[in-house]
Subunit: 282 residues, 3 copies
Amino acid sequence: MSDPVRPESVLDLAVTAGRLREEVRAAPPLTHCLTNAVVTGFTANVLLALGAAPAMVDIVGEAGPFAGAASGLLVNLGTPTPEQREASREAVAGALAAATPWVLDPVAIGTLPVRTALAHELAARRPTAIRGNASEILALAGHSSGGRGVDATDGTEAAAAAARELADRYGSVVAVSGPVDLLTDGERVIRIANGHELLTRVTGGGCALGAVMAAFLGASLGTGTDALTAVAAATLVYTVAAEQAAETSRGPGSFAVGLLDALSAVTPADLRDRARVEEETR
Amino acid sequence: MSDPVRPESVLDLAVTAGRLREEVRAAPPLTHCLTNAVVTGFTANVLLALGAAPAMVDIVGEAGPFAGAASGLLVNLGTPTPEQREASREAVAGALAAATPWVLDPVAIGTLPVRTALAHELAARRPTAIRGNASEILALAGHSSGGRGVDATDGTEAAAAAARELADRYGSVVAVSGPVDLLTDGERVIRIANGHELLTRVTGGGCALGAVMAAFLGASLGTGTDALTAVAAATLVYTVAAEQAAETSRGPGSFAVGLLDALSAVTPADLRDRARVEEETR
Amino acid sequence: MSDPVRPESVLDLAVTAGRLREEVRAAPPLTHCLTNAVVTGFTANVLLALGAAPAMVDIVGEAGPFAGAASGLLVNLGTPTPEQREASREAVAGALAAATPWVLDPVAIGTLPVRTALAHELAARRPTAIRGNASEILALAGHSSGGRGVDATDGTEAAAAAARELADRYGSVVAVSGPVDLLTDGERVIRIANGHELLTRVTGGGCALGAVMAAFLGASLGTGTDALTAVAAATLVYTVAAEQAAETSRGPGSFAVGLLDALSAVTPADLRDRARVEEETR
């Protein structure tokens, strides 16, 4: 990563992330998740480790009202059953009506037809944030993608233009996950070089980050923190904890366990010490 | 907790819990679980750690006959898809026809309409036991509740009257989970002060206890142990193991792993040494 | 286990298993899993630990095309919802059209009617491999079985004739899991005595092996390795890692974590040192 354009922003983000991290613990944001069957338990545990209050309500007739009462909402399309598809639409409508911030994670879109159509439909409802790997962001922007299922086969920089385009089109923060995370609101671009390769060896390593973003967006309401900063703060907390977990793990099994422990323990000081962030403005 | 009304009952319960715990290992009760998608793996692992035989059969056309052949049944309403709702009704009918003991866990009822209606419908079938946090027990009894999803926002004592009322109404044992667990059959009230706050930081920390209750109810059949004692024994075993796990954990991740290890290893002597139980009779 | 009939085959299999294990890491096979809700997260983590690329695509309209593009497919019938049943048929058709190797795991068939009917229907499509415990293999062959749900109540030798019969009938490799795994293509029979009892105390301990078989079948395409050898190699890698994990675990919780670590670390030399294999030809 090149030298940061605005070095002071590194400290700024770390400080904000530390404050939001404490806020999540002090006033647990009710974080509503419609997520895939593979990662639902891990995702709930990630939120609980941070002190947030997860609720995996994905039933038609319940998801709509619940999204209206929640602090933040995640809609992850990893295993979109017919029930979940309908509940997702309902939840998004509920979130929009109540101004609940919401995150769309278009898992493995591109060639898989059901989720791809749903992702485009939901993106048009203008999510607060969109999170994906480079392949997914390229696919959502309508660029051709080499994605084969859930793999990230493109580097995050390859999706930088697509991310900006989506941000402009939908008024969303767009977060591209990879070795260096790239986040943009269309004007500012934040790059975060924290994290660890073991995150890609645990199922839900990326999906759970979408839930953390929803929790941090919820916690940031009323604090004057903009959505890009809240989403970047979530990314920083999550990836710093991943680094800490990797230092004591013996493989992907103990890493996943250690990540939950680290998310519970990570401090504002850890974030300041470890943050590797740069920011530029278009 | 005040001094126990019947001190000898502490030792009584610990001894019975130790005997049932050994019985589960010696003759694994086939424990049929219809539970929510978030905790199904963890719940099965909790049962396996104790030596029970879990079977997560929640398919229409299978759940009914299976409940008739099982030793115990759990119906947990955490993610009640249409398929699960229909399978739940079928399983309860099968359990009733075969006199299989069954546990109802009305997760997050109150304002969520689908599960709330189903919980009332199934409660009217007179479960052997009902397990929930204070908010859920208050909601099931028809009292107003401040519950917001899956949180327990009320202490267990706040639900003591509602628990007795439900016990009388449905002939059920009612178990209210919290820092001090409160269990009643309408006449006797048992309080168990074991456990650890980390149980609330692991998804399924409460839900899995419902499955353990179903296993212990199954193991107690034919032993002359009443349902309240079996359910209290399950609670004691589970919460003592949680204390043991907390002593060596570094956070919620390692705690969940340690809980499974402790459930596998916990002995009758551990239960006698650690039990903090009191009992009173109305 | 008696002395091996062909001692050199032990070394042969260990060498091939080591080569395939490295191949999985070097060129991750896209492993398509339709599996049950209880074990889907653990199964994905097992594949990721080995370096394979899991994709849990079980949606109607997606499962068919995806199976055609995947390296290997697992169809596990543990929680066969209507959506999954239809998606399974679609995935199998897609795999057959594209010559994708596929594994059928007929979980808990016998008395449960929905899955039993589906297992017979899918078996008739001639899976590359069929994996089950003795009860399940006996039930699939049409022999009477004492199975009660997901338990293995018969030793693997009791299912040897049924396994050979199924292999002949469907042209499949048949793998019977138990204390000694028995694998056959109808002509050759391989027995593998590695593994550990703790595998039966972790949910998905058997189911995840079916996914590893699908990954190894995918990795073996074009290498000249026959399907029986690929399936046996998967079994050897998995059960040797289980032995390694058991050596440092304190119970089923830490064992499951250690298994993922061991699957990530297991080397060809470990396989050669630890393999306890014998082979005979009918």
